[in-house]
């Protein structure tokens, strides 16, 4: 029977195989994007807005956006929150539907970067972690440089960037399960978390490199400032710093060794509520607040100081389909009565200084400095990985 299969068939098959291989290689080997970047897509819309008052601008944008009908919003905001924001926007602007693409930030990053490499974009507006937005800013043609929203001026200059604006804060708090940590037993300091008292009872999220870098530098500065007498010479300062860094490395290693490692902050907060661990070291405050609203036994006060704070940013995608709707959404997100209120209502912390999160009163807030941390990202990331994989 096998004799009936002629050699030619095999040859033909071989040709097909080779062709497929070559095609595959050619396909993936193309490192140049398929399409050249288009000119700024916002130009025509922005031209029509010139000189308009905020109210007239909003009306004009709304009418243009209604003609577009929809916008695609990529966000790493958790689903419940994102849906509330979506509903608030759609209620304010009937006829402009928000197509919500919610994904964990890592998934969102992979998607945005892949789309950019291929020269396409599914998003009109992107809203995610500050460091991620900052990295997008450094890659060509992912986000449109845009600083012209009249509402951006109300947020602190520190959270305004060329291609995105901080619209909310994620606040890292140390939180605990009140059934497992009775009142009076709460952790009081960072140092305490590295002691054997909490061995196996605390939790750290797997990807909090910005938290690690900021806390490390903060504690380093604190300890340097406390030295008596203060080192004067360059060499003495370097020696003192090296000694402190050695202590800090041991401290972080001990704290990580005490920890259960969990991926995802919402999951971490919910496992805390369930009692899987007694303390979660890197929790976002708004998730704890949401759980408290369901009467879950979780708390983060009195604070383990300081509370690290990082801005989340909103930006406009370069290769977008719905420029007017994107601009409308962007403006609205930063408006006091718009997205900022919706975020506050949903339990998040808006960036507008006149809308503080009451839950964070009394916290010593230390900003995570995206600009310096992202420029050393590779080094911090490596140190973090060896810490948790060691």
């Amino acid at each position: 029977m096998q004799g009936m299969l002629s050699r030619r068939v095999w040859l033909g098959g071989a040709v097909v195989l080779t062709a497929t291989a070559v095609l595959g290689a050619a396909t993936v080997g193309m490192s140049a994007p398929r399409k050249a970047p288009p000119p700024s897509p916002l130009k025509t819309v922005l031209a029509q807005l010139k000189g308009l008052s905020p109210a007239a601008r909003e009306a004009k944008l709304y009418s243009l956006a209604k003609a577009e009908g929809t916008l695609v919003w990529y966000t790493s905001l958790d689903t419940l929150l994102a849906k509330q924001i979506q509903a608030a926007f759609e209620a304010k602007y009937p006829g402009v539907a928000v197509n919500l693409v919610r994904a964990p930030s890592e998934t969102l990053d992979a998607r945005v970067l892949s789309e950019a490499t291929a020269g396409t974009s599914g998003a009109d507006v992107i809203e995610t972690n500050g460091p991620d937005m900052f990295i997008f800013q450094h890659k060509a043609n992912i986000l449109v440089p845009y600083r012209a929203s009249p509402y951006a001026a109300a947020v602190p200059a520190r959270v305004r960037y060329d291609t995105f604006t901080g619209d909310r804060f994620n606040n890292y708090v140390v939180a605990w399960n009140t059934n497992l940590v009775p009142s009076g037993q709460e952790p009081k300091s960072w140092e305490e978390l590295a002691t054997s008292k909490w061995a196996g009872k605390i939790s750290i999220e797997a990807n909090d490199i910005d938290w690690y870098a900021t806390l490390y530098q903060y504690l380093e500065q604190q300890r340097l400032a406390k030295l008596k007498p203060q080192p004067k010479t360059k060499n003495a300062i370097a020696a003192a710093r090296a000694k402190i860094d050695g202590e800090l490395d041991r401290f972080f290693a001990a704290m990580v060794k005490n920890s259960q490692i969990v991926s995802g902050h919402t999951t971490q907060a919910n496992l805390l509520a369930a009692g899987q661990f007694a303390i979660s070291v890197t929790t976002y405050a708004h998730y704890v607040e949401a759980l408290q609203a369901k009467h879950a036994p979780v708390a983060f006060k009195p604070f383990v100081q300081p509370v690290l704070r990082r801005e989340q940013g909103i930006g406009i995608a370069y290769r977008l389909q719905h420029p007017a709707a994107a601009l409308l959404f962007y403006d609205w997100d930063l408006m006091k009565s718009g997205g900022q209120k919706a975020l506050l209502d949903a339990g998040s912390a808006p960036t507008r200084p006149d809308m503080p999160d009451a839950q964070l009163q009394g916290a010593r807030l230390v900003p995570i400095d995206l600009r310096t941390i992202v420029s050393n990202w590779g080094a911090w990331s490596k140190r973090w990985q060896s810490l948790i994989q060691g």
Partner: protein, 579 residues
Amino acid sequence: MTATLAEAAVRTRGEAFRRLFSARNAIVLLVGALIAYLALVPLVFLFWQTFVRSGHLTLANFRSAYSSVGLGAMLANSFAFAIGSTVLAVVLGTALAYLIVRTDIPFKPLMYAASLVPLIIPGVLHTIAWIFLASPTIGILNRNVFDHVPGLQGHPFNIFSIPGMILIEGLHLAPLVFLLMVASFRSMDPSLEESAVMSGATLRRVFFKITLPLARPALYAGILIMMVRGLESFEVPALVGLPNHIWVFTSRIWTALNALDPDYGQAGAVAMSLLVLTSLGIWWHSRLAKRARAFQTVTGKGYRPRPMPLGAWKWPATALIFVYFVVAVVLPMLTLAYMSTQEFYAPPTRETLSHMSLVNYTQVLHDPFIRTTAINSVILGLGSATAVMLFTAVAAWLVVRTQLPGRWLIDNLAFAPLAIPGLVLGVALLDVYLRVDLPLVSIYGTLWVLFIAYMTRFMPYGMRYASTSMFQIARELEESAATSGAGWFQAFRRIVLPLLVPGLVAGWIYIFIVSVRELGATVVLYSPGKETLAIAIWEKYRDGLFPELAALGVLMILALVVLVMIAAKLGAKVGIREA
């Protein structure tokens, strides 16, 4: 004279031409090209990503992947986990299959279903359920059972350990071995066993000396697939290993991909090592093919299989299956069911039990998003299961039956995607189909990209199911068909295919289920409006909505059970009668 030669040449050319374009060759070529396309595109991408950095060949990615800390422990963990779960799954799966197919165990259909149901529970659900069952702090077993056992100190079950990981993975994979072994035991000529019994051999002796050796192709395929699955498993190491600092290959890959600036090269380097390991496995397995005839027991001879009498072992064996069912299905399902009635998860106490509600179910059932995902999952499951089983049946015939030079290549190509972890496959396909559209259909942003991913990912399983069954069908059946004047297509359709049906149906069911469960590749490839049920569960998990996730999980498992029962019934009608 010259005219005759020319005529002959024309005739030969015409003949060759006709032969070249016969139905058989067309199908063979098409299947070969499809397999090559599915396997090579992501593989080539993986190679390119791992070995090429800014246009130059480099080993830098391997250096950075393997110079990191904790490498020795990572390797040891990976193998301990993979080998442990393989042993557990193979022993359990084989025992269950033997008892149900070849012995006179009571309640057979029930037992058959009991052995299959764990397969239906999505990995992420099963893993979460076990965390809530056997976590040392909040596990129901520890808190609600062992705390009340007098004389027992502390919490004996710690799921966050390698034995815990093995337990979860092994229990979850056993049904896959079960399916492979059922197909093999069913299509096995029992006359050898019967002669042994008649010659006075004990049941045990018959099992180890006759049955098991005859089932070797399926057994080896089972071991091979389990090892690979163990090395490739994602949910268990991520959810159960990671908290206790137990790192394995996939968690390394995942961490490299999960970073803000994903290191695809390093992920590729680790994935490449997995590929080498699985290729070794394939090489070992392919040596069996050379001795294939030794395992052929479905022959032209008529046979009437008779179940082995278990005698005194009848009830202990029944109890064994029952215990397996309770541990692998009932306990996790009860945990999910309990969890689905709560507002947030807390271990059961009198208080939580007095606050049960079905509100999560209402929410899930009224969610239009869930409805869309369910429809997408069913479309993808039906599509990929049918497509994969059809083309792997042809491919298996090609590999097992023909002497086509290089058929090992098709075998290897069809098997290669097994080594590519879902996440890596997802990233590879994303980058490919963002740049290219196939003629006529647009790929990215549609269900097609998921369809291609699933066909690629599950082709190895289809291939194993089909070729394992093919090994056992004696060539004489086809040869007699050919002698009686049947063409290749006719013989394939009328003889080979129907005999293959038990194996193909088993494969179809398996691929349907794993398609519905698939997460690793989907999570990278899905687009808005094209989400699947597994994505919905994943999203709920990432949002910490454990109770809603549990409600969705319970509904999904019930629906899958019904679908699988229908499929099994239909399959039994289409195929030859069950052994």
